[in-house]
């Protein structure tokens, strides 16, 4: 990307970060629930 020669350096601190508050980040896939160990019947 050709943007030419640098002109100046500036510091930009928005009062509010320009990122939507309720993003639609895809939910991670749920991990399988741990299964209880199967007890062997007492003999």
């Amino acid at each position: 990307m050709e943007i030419g020669a640098p002109v100046r350096t500036i510091v930009v601190e928005p009062l509010e970060e320009p990122v939507p508050r309720a993003p639609a980040e895809p939910a991670p896939e749920p991990e399988p629930a741990p299964q209880a160990p199967v007890e062997e019947p007492a003999r």
Binding site: G4, V7, P14, P20, A24
Partner: protein, 174 residues
């Protein structure tokens, strides 16, 4: 502890960009080989520049640094004018022999903040987030299906809806 100077602006700068969307995943990607643009949090600039060991002086003096740095090419890029974006798009046409890669291009506005280096025709920024995306009518993308062995094609309307939902921003087909 790093010292940062007082801010020059209290509102994000708005630049113009091209992204790819829908090259397998429903995410915006830069034209270079950078990480995909995250949803709901800022893209953060990282310097990937490492001088060639062939240039011994530059290699020896190189130090990892926060991006963007004045004497480096790092940072999140954006342009100032629609003419520059059109020229960049034409450059992609020249660069890519496979026409399908061009069909996933989308354009739009991007908010830039943090440390920003202003150039003649654009910016290099520390933080960025897409603000508004325009999906061209001729857009054709694809998404991997759940099994990742098949793909599903998406058109401009679906891409615009997916971008709006994922990134929480305004989109349009134009």
């Amino acid at each position: 502890m790093s010292r940062r100077r007082a801010p020059d602006f209290a509102e994000a700068i708005v630049g113009l960009r091209l992204w790819h969307f829908g090259q397998g995943e429903p995410e915006l990607r830069s034209l270079g080989s950078c990480p995909p643009w995250p949803a709901g949090r800022a893209q953060i600039a990282v310097c990937y520049h490492l001088p060639s060991p062939m240039n011994q002086r530059e290699y020896r003096e190189f130090r990892p640094h926060a991006a963007p740095r004045h004497r480096c090419g790092c940072g999140i890029y954006a342009l100032k004018s629609t003419e520059a974006v059109a020229e960049l798009r034409r450059g992609q046409t020249h660069r890519w022999s496979h026409a399908s890669a061009l069909r996933t291009l989308v354009s739009g506005e991007v908010s830039l903040w943090g440390r920003v280096i202003e150039h003649e025709h654009g910016y290099r920024a520390e933080y960025a987030y897409p603000q508004r995306i325009i999906v061209p009518r001729h857009y054709r993308g694809f998404l991997h299906a759940g099994d990742r062995r098949t793909i599903r094609r998406i058109d401009a309307n679906e891409a615009a809806a997916l971008i709006a939902e994922r990134y929480g921003i305004e989109t349009e087909v134009g």
